[in-house]
């Protein structure tokens, strides 16, 4: 599986949203499914799927689908989306 597929899958699973809604315009707190409870579920999902451990500040900063890509890349340079 490619990194982008894993990432989209993680969002679909954690936020319980249809695949079609996981795109560049998906933002924390704008989409009703992506609230603070779902956010921690998403964090756990991404950490599991990409084998990383985020810093506290990055969890707070991960405010969009786009931002998630950027932060993940910072943790693992071999990931490209």
């Amino acid at each position: 599986m490619t990194a982008i597929t894993i990432l989209v899958d993680a969002f679909v699973t954690a936020l319980e949203v249809p695949r079609s809604e996981v795109n560049e315009s998906l933002e924390y707190n704008s989409h009703k499914q992506w609230d603070s409870t779902a956010h921690m579920i998403l964090i756990a999902q991404l950490e599991n799927d990409f084998e990383v451990m985020f810093d506290i500040d990055d969890i707070i900063d991960m405010s969009s689908f786009t931002k998630a890509k950027e932060i993940l890349t910072k943790y693992n340079e071999s990931i490209s989306f």
């Binding site: 707190n29 603070s36 810093d55």
Partner: protein, 354 residues
């Protein structure tokens, strides 16, 4: 100074001469901001101060006002979340209106303060509550908000209780065993930690033997005071049952989420740089000039921008112990909370105090 700069200030390092001029200037600016942007706040101030904000002071609103009115400084379409107090002790709950910016700021400030006590790294986290407490979505209870806010500092979040408040001993043992070589983070509300965890483990004669942990707890002592449980008793019984655990109580309220007051090793609560505590006399609500005298706690915070909650007269009694000279080394005011104001002594909801 804007928030990008304010957030970079050291949490507990500035002394009175360094902090207060800066803090007071910001607080006055914030009061003017709310006076301009909040119709409710303007109405209250205009009524009490003959049509204008006093120049030499920042008036405090009685915290109970938030139980009776939806006070906001933003337009309805910018409301992102309304947080509420738990409402277990009274039927009325506080309603706090947040926009995205204010909600994010609360989280960032809380994170900055908590890192001082937990360290910068996330720790395996044991939550002394049951998982259903965070399930309700749009409107969060104070308990849910508290757990949610603290979850950020942990990973492998494990709930220690079942829905009927019994201990999920299987989950707890497994968690402790799994993380036995690491420092763990335990969080819960004071009464729940005591009643449903410590006391139950004690009854069962169970000792968990935790090697290294930090426990943060909050939510008030009232129910424990009724049972005559002191902070010292709480800590010593907790250590007997759980093991090597550093215990920090913290004081805070849903009306000023973010700026929490954490208890140091010397058992005093400390003001972070973004908030201030004032003690007022019960008799006439004048500011208590001397430290060491009990009165009503007023909390001032620079965080609230979407609602006029920057200066609040609480219903709690406390004592300022000192400023800049706590034995733990932190600068700023340090204090203790003694309990709640008796019902008969509370002022009407329209009462405010400068």
């Amino acid at each position: 100074m804007n928030w990008e700069q304010l957030i970079t200030l050291p949490v507990y390092q500035l002394n009175q001469a360094e902090k207060m001029p800066l803090f007071n200037q910001q607080l006055v600016e914030l009061a003017h901001y709310h006076y301009q942007h909040s119709e409710n706040y303007r109405d209250i101030i205009d009524f009490l101060y003959q049509g204008k904000l006093p120049e030499d002071e920042v008036p405090a609103l009685a915290v109970r006002l938030f139980k009776h009115h939806l006070l906001k400084s933003i337009s309805t379409e910018d409301i992102f979340r309304i947080t509420t107090s738990s409402g277990t002790t009274s039927q009325q709950v506080s309603q706090i209106v947040l926009d995205k910016e204010n909600a994010l700021r609360q989280q960032k400030v809380l994170a900055t303060i908590m890192k001082q006590w937990l360290g910068g790294k996330r720790l395996p986290m044991l939550i002394i509550d049951h998982p259903k407490v965070i399930k309700n979505k749009f409107s969060y209870s104070a308990r849910g908000v508290g757990i949610q806010g603290m979850s950020l500092f942990g990973y492998d979040h494990t709930y220690a209780l079942n829905e009927d408040m019994s201990i999920n001993i299987g989950a707890v043992s497994q968690f402790i065993d799994k993380h036995k070589d690491q420092k763990i983070f335990i969080f819960g509300f004071t009464f729940i930690v005591w009643q449903y965890f410590i006391q139950k483990l004690k009854e069962k004669n169970t000792q968990l033997g935790i090697a290294d942990a930090v426990l943060l707890h909050s939510g008030g002592w009232k129910k424990l005071q009724d049972k005559a449980v002191s902070n010292q008793t709480f800590k010593s019984q907790l250590n007997t049952v759980l093991g090597n655990v550093k215990v920090h109580n913290f004081y805070g309220m849903v009306e000023q989420t973010g700026t929490v007051y954490v208890e140091c090793e010397a058992s005093y609560l400390h003001c972070p740089i973004w908030s201030d505590v004032i003690i007022r006399k019960k008799s006439n609500l004048a500011e208590e000039e001397k430290n060491g005298i009990e009165g009503i706690i007023q909390v001032n915070s620079l965080l609230p921008t979407s609602y006029p909650g920057h200066a609040l007269l609480t219903e709690d009694l406390g004592i300022i112990i000192g400023e800049d000279n706590c034995q733990c080394g932190k600068k700023g005011k340090y204090f203790q909370v003694n309990g709640r104001l008796a019902k008969a002594e509370m002022r009407g909801c329209s009462d405010t105090q400068s």
